[in-house]
Symmetry: C2
């Protein structure tokens, strides 16, 4: 009778309101009912993306969305700059290479991210048609300064493709105001849905690039999704159930207001960092994201910590990846998680550290977290 709790950076816990909506009988997607729903959902998504442009919904994982963006929008007559500071940056390099693009991969050390200055230096050469960055690099729990990067890119002919899969609905993101041309997102993150949907907002500047390209993809063709959306539809069979759940989730987020959602997420992250510090644990990232916090294991603790945490306290946290494998665990602040969840998780972390023989001052973590979360609004 231990409750299962997801503190993984996707999937995240799905609210009962959304689950119940998705449990309702299916209806057909080639109907007025579906089209009306898509109109409402698109309007709601635009408030979350803070964009006046349509948001394309692509059935698939977040990767499908990012691949669609890279395949369809990156100009073929210039190079593409892909910032690689972790697993996901690395993935977008691979995608660009699959499509034979002229990729300039800029690697930065894990736990840091590419700077606006570095992007500017590259773009000043005039060699680049597109920049791909990861706003919240989930693998290293690190955020870049997307606003500053967007400002640099907006001043050029290049377009900016931002992987905002764990950032949308967690980190401040003003798509139009900042001039982010393509924002990619996924359903199983802050949008509080099961996995299965990718989302892309596309600026007129990016659409102009798309127009010039005959992309070698059918399913992931942005033009196909745009054409269908003009008829309030999807080009291929729509996942009706996920989209009706999406409508509920989007309404829940907009009822709170996206800026308040960001500040709540930031507070959960701040509380988690404060708790870690109070327990003598080190945060991995040098530019920690507020979407997910990477915490280093102290000496003598290995990744069996995660299994113990879930077994005794039902708390699922994420593994360290690649060079961080076995060295850290990652705690998500995405979506449907509130202060009481976070405080409970900190307590469970304290117990599990004690069980692993780590000397801590029991209660120090929760006290630090409780003090930060006092500012919850």
């Amino acid at each position: 009778m231990i409750k299962s709790r997801l503190f993984t950076p996707g999937p995240t816990d799905v609210p009962a309101e959304v689950l119940i909506e998705m449990a309702k009988p299916i209806f057909h997607h080639r109907t007025q009912q579906f089209q009306d729903m898509l109109v409402r959902v698109n309007a709601g998504l635009k408030k979350i993306f803070l964009t006046a442009n349509d948001v394309l919904t692509i059935p698939g994982s977040g990767t499908a969305g990012m691949e669609a963006a890279i395949a369809c929008a990156v100009p073929r007559d210039k190079k593409v700059l892909v910032a690689n500071s972790g697993k996901f940056g690395e993935r977008w390099v691979k995608v660009a290479k699959v499509y034979g693009l002229n990729v300039d991969e800029v690697k930065t050390e894990w736990g840091t991210s590419i700077t606006a200055e570095a992007v500017k230096a590259k773009l000043d050469t005039g060699a680049y048609g597109a920049v791909v960055v990861v706003y919240s690099e989930t693998s290293t729990a690190t955020a870049c300064d997307l606003q500053a990067i967007a400002k640099v890119v907006a001043a050029t002919d290049a377009i900016l493709i931002a992987d905002c899969i764990t950032a949308l609905g967690t980190l401040p993101l003003k798509t139009d105001e900042w001039g982010v041309d393509i924002v990619g997102a996924g359903s199983q993150k802050a949008l509080m849905l099961p996995p299965g949907l990718a989302f892309l907002s596309v600026s007129p500047k990016a659409w102009a690039c798309v127009e010039k390209i005959t992309a070698p993809t059918f399913y992931l063709s942005l033009k196909a999704y745009r054409k269908a959306l003009a008829d309030n539809d999807l080009p291929y069979t729509a996942p009706v159930t996920l989209i009706r759940g999406l409508e509920v989730a989007v309404n829940m987020i907009n009822a709170v207001g996206i800026e308040k959602v960001w500040s709540r997420c930031a507070l959960l992250a701040k509380a988690t960092r404060a708790a870690a510090e109070a327990l003598g644990l080190k945060i991995f990232s040098r530019q920690p994201a507020d979407s997910v916090t990477g915490i280093m294991y102290p000496a003598g603790v290995d990744d069996s910590f995660r299994k113990a945490l879930v077994k005794k306290y039902g708390c699922n946290v994420a593994v360290g990846q690649d060079e961080l494998k076995g060295k850290c665990f990652r705690v998500s602040h995405l979506g449907y998680v509130d202060p009481l969840d976070t405080i409970g998780l900190i307590a469970a972390i304290e117990y599990t550290l004690l069980d692993a023989g780590v000397k801590i001052n029991l209660g120090a973590g929760v006290t630090a977290a409780v003090q930060v979360l006092r500012d919850w609004k």
Copy 2:
């Protein structure tokens, strides 16, 4: 996006496993499928009641079960002793009077309960055919010593009817070993179901009393339920959905083991009392039950505290009743609640006290709770 959490002493939160089972399509109750289910459920309930006797399932609230016991089992040729230490003791006095029984109501001060010695002194007169006690008096968050009382009653011809509605599955209860003749329980408490079912275990000694009485009730006739159960059935239309949920809940409890469930509940109560003490709050009861904790409001705080707690933190706690109205709140430890829930609730209580202008050492409550809950097994 604040999660709703029930810390009320019934209804309690229902696990997803149970909700999902109850969401399945209905089947008919006059079928082999239903009879087979009832056999399994009854076997499971006997492990929770720790009795070799059948457990009757009566569609209705816990009150229906207690009324059935009082109406059908209290000998008519003698007096019935009803212990009244709160709202529920008071209710059983009313029920006994409705049936014209010769009631001897023994009132004790709220926050205390009748002693085995007091029961013995009464029974020594030879005037009593039955004793009705409330094991966990929810209104005052107070437990009596049921084991000691049962020992006294078992030595006489009288039968013991115990309201265990909030006690079953929370406080130690060895029905047969202690000799509790009738144990009454309800579905929406530690059994982790929605309201709608009452349960009664009935000893051979109690059945002998039932045999001698023509009870003036049709729906609540114990004989009718016993006759139907002999055919693995209920006498009237069975609430199939609740009973299929019950099977899942009973299996969850028995997978943990009832004695472990008791000790976990005791630890949650101990942590809550420790937190209250650390925050300078007074526990109302002089014999606090481990099922529910009644906490007095400090000076300057009124019952708007409860509304603030649910509005900002989603935590539902119970109101003080009658003479405690506006003076205390009650926190449940029943059923599907774990240490992380309880720690989160303590944090929410701390915030709400601060919001109400009470001077507390923020974090003192959670630290005290976390230290007690370290012993969770």
